[in-house]
Subunit: 428 residues, 2 copies
């Protein structure tokens, strides 16, 4: 819920202090408030705190408070609780509200349906401007947005929308049907959250109506979208770093939980990387003959990994923003191979220089330079294609960034290196 309708700004500050108080003090403070005030302040607290407080209060007051929760606040809280806690909380939610909430909890966690709220201004198209203004002025309800008014048909279909300014500047006697906009931007409850962000942003809306067919279900407000953008960003960044995202603030997350979030990916990468050992064992002969080849292993595979990481991060982002689609695959490949060619030449020159400085002889230096060039191009190709392939398979392209591309390029890079070495050095 947006509190723009009731500008009580220091609420967040009070909530912040409350969050850090002991449970006993939290309860004592909440009990001094009306149910409506308590609901407003509770929604600013962390989900676990909200749950604990609501379960600790007496049943009657807790029910009253939860009756004042906006739909989006209830959905947000329940979405973040464990199934057991979810069911416990439902025992304290009024039957009608519970039915509404359960209906939208049926939608997938990452969809528009989970962000919906429904305290909005709705009118019928025959109503006159002055009547509507008077109606708004006499209400004592709180709304999730006052920026837009929604015009509904008798069967609940959304037939028009108008902004509060359009209402206010219109003539008293005009009917809403004369001033409303009928060519609306809407979203379905099944739509992905990313689509919600794009629509709000692209059309500069502070609230987006949700419809099932034509039927008006509610709206999604910008504040929930901003929270969600931040949540998504956190998850993306952590996934790119090769770990499952943490759900709670870092300092409040236990060592054991952090361990569990990290060990899976770490072991997966370990197992994936383990084949580099097989590759190197395969070239044992070559290594024994020219031990100096070893010196450049970390440098070459590191460079391959860095090149690949640059490419995937750029592409993952471009895909997320809708700038790059599957049909652009060839364009992307062409672009990355060309860039890879330029980068490969530059790095080959540096590799040559580095080898000469290390005094390994011109033959090995040539091997290192050529291998550097080939590895850079190879990892550009792989890194250009992998995110698009994952997208095609409806998987999140973010999982192949950083650690994954590095791991993949490590072993294949070694094969390139030793193949070049065997060809040029004429060894076993």
């Amino acid at each position: 819920m947006i509190n723009q309708n009731k500008v009580k700004l220091p609420l967040f500050d009070t909530a912040k202090k409350l969050e850090q108080s002991a449970r006993k003090e939290q309860l004592a403070f909440i009990k001094t408030l009306t149910a409506s005030e308590a609901a407003e302040i509770l929604t600013y607290l962390e989900n676990e705190t909200q749950f604990e407080v609501l379960m600790a209060l007496d049943l009657f007051f807790a029910k009253q408070i939860l009756a004042h929760y906006a739909l989006d606040d209830s959905l947000d809280l329940l979405t973040h609780l464990s199934p057991t806690k979810e069911e416990k909380l439902f025992t304290r939610i009024d039957e009608n509200a519970a039915r509404d909430i359960r209906r939208f909890l049926l939608f997938n966690k990452k969809t528009a349906g989970r962000l919906i709220t429904n305290h909005v201004l709705t009118f019928s198209k025959e109503e006159k401007v002055l009547e509507v203004i008077c109606a708004i002025r006499q209400t004592d309800k709180k709304f999730d947005t006052l920026s837009y008014l929604y015009v509904l048909a008798e069967n609940g279909d959304l037939i028009g929308v108008l902004s509060i300014q359009e209402l206010l500047v219109a003539e008293d006697s005009e009917a809403l049907s004369e001033i409303m906009l009928t060519n609306m931007v809407t979203i379905t409850p099944e739509a992905d959250r990313a689509e919600v962000v794009l629509k709000l942003k692209d059309y500069n809306l502070s609230a987006l109506p949700v419809v099932d067919g034509q039927s008006f279900l509610g709206i999604i407000t910008f504040d929930d979208v901003m929270d969600m953008m931040e949540e998504e960003q956190s998850e993306d960044v952590q996934r790119m770093g090769g770990a499952s995202p943490l759900d709670k603030p870092y300092l409040k997350t236990s060592v054991w939980l952090i361990y569990r979030k990290r060990i899976f990916w770490l072991l997966l990468l370990f197992v994936a990387e383990a084949y580099t050992g097989t590759v190197l064992a395969h070239y044992e002969e070559t290594l024994t003959q020219v031990i100096a080849l070893t010196f450049f292993i970390p440098l070459l595979i590191g460079t391959g990994g860095n090149t690949g990481t640059q490419v995937t991060t750029t592409l993952i982002r471009a895909i997320a923003l809708g700038e790059v689609r599957l049909r652009d695959a060839l364009k992307v490949l062409k672009k990355e191979v060309t860039v890879g060619f330029l980068l490969g030449i530059s790095l080959a020159l540096f590799a040559l220089g580095r080898s000469v400085i290390l005094g390994v002889g011109i033959n090995i230096a040539a091997v290192v330079a050529i291998a550097a060039f080939c590895i850079v191009i190879w990892s550009s190709i792989i890194a250009a294609l992998l995110p698009l392939i994952l997208k095609k398979l409806s998987l999140d392209p973010a999982v192949v960034s950083g650690p994954f591309i590095t791991t993949f390029v490590d072993g294949t890079g070694l094969i390139i290196y030793f193949t070049v070495a065997k060809l040029l050095l004429d060894i076993a």
Copy 2:
């Protein structure tokens, strides 16, 4: 500017088509519009397109259009143009507007001052509710927000704020001073953009007043903040991938520009990684005696890099969200060392298993396992401290993620590996 005041939703769609048209068609279309309509649609186009079109139109019409640009739209456009183009565009901006714009362009690119806009409803505290409602109803101006009204003193100081709903539900004869909120959330024009995001989000506001001391300068609206959040996220992700962020959509960025954005970091990492060659050359004797040690080089340094990347991405995010501060350094270190201990044991067991499978003998297997354990702990420590140290030095912690931590851990990991090997295998 938010178009909530005039819900013309398909504007974005028209703009999208226009963006893809030839310049000639763009100009022909713009010429059919009024200056106000043209301004509204132009702001949806890419900055370069806006500039080209505005320079191609005749001077008089271009001036009229730019006079209809909201302050934030002008600032956004000019912020994204090169200095030469900026000065060219200024020749088409009316003197008064230009003075306003130049004033805010003085603020750093990443500050609140660059996001400001000033078409807002301002009133004096003596005005009565009914007068204010009538005034709003009679205006034909477009506002950047209608969600809040700002109450100013005669000297221009901000003394109160109220929401449109608070205005509408108040009694006709009440003065604004009786219903306005005086305990406001504000921001200074010098404040960092990250602070703007936090304030809007934390206090659930759709617009944030900007003040210099008490003096009211304008507001920052949620739509600009959402655009900015996305821009920042793009930059962060790309920086974490070890490349300078692209300013334009990927497919529109030239190969040469992408090359330039990437080569600097790639070479820097290459040079940094090059010392691994020195480390390995130093242990040439050891390697020659036990060639099998080579097999585990990519696996061990890869695992160290992955562990470090997990830690830094988590911390960079926690620092960005304000969850972790400098004073938490010891807590963070303790936590990461403990997690690193658990991860180290797990990975050491896997390393032992892998070595045995590769058939390198129990001695080398023990070396690999112990080295894996030490490297994981070592890279946890480094990765826990580096982001905090950068923060302390007022640098962006995001630069040490992924590629950088990997590079740093590679060489130091090798030293750990060979030290363990020499101690356990009793070799030179």
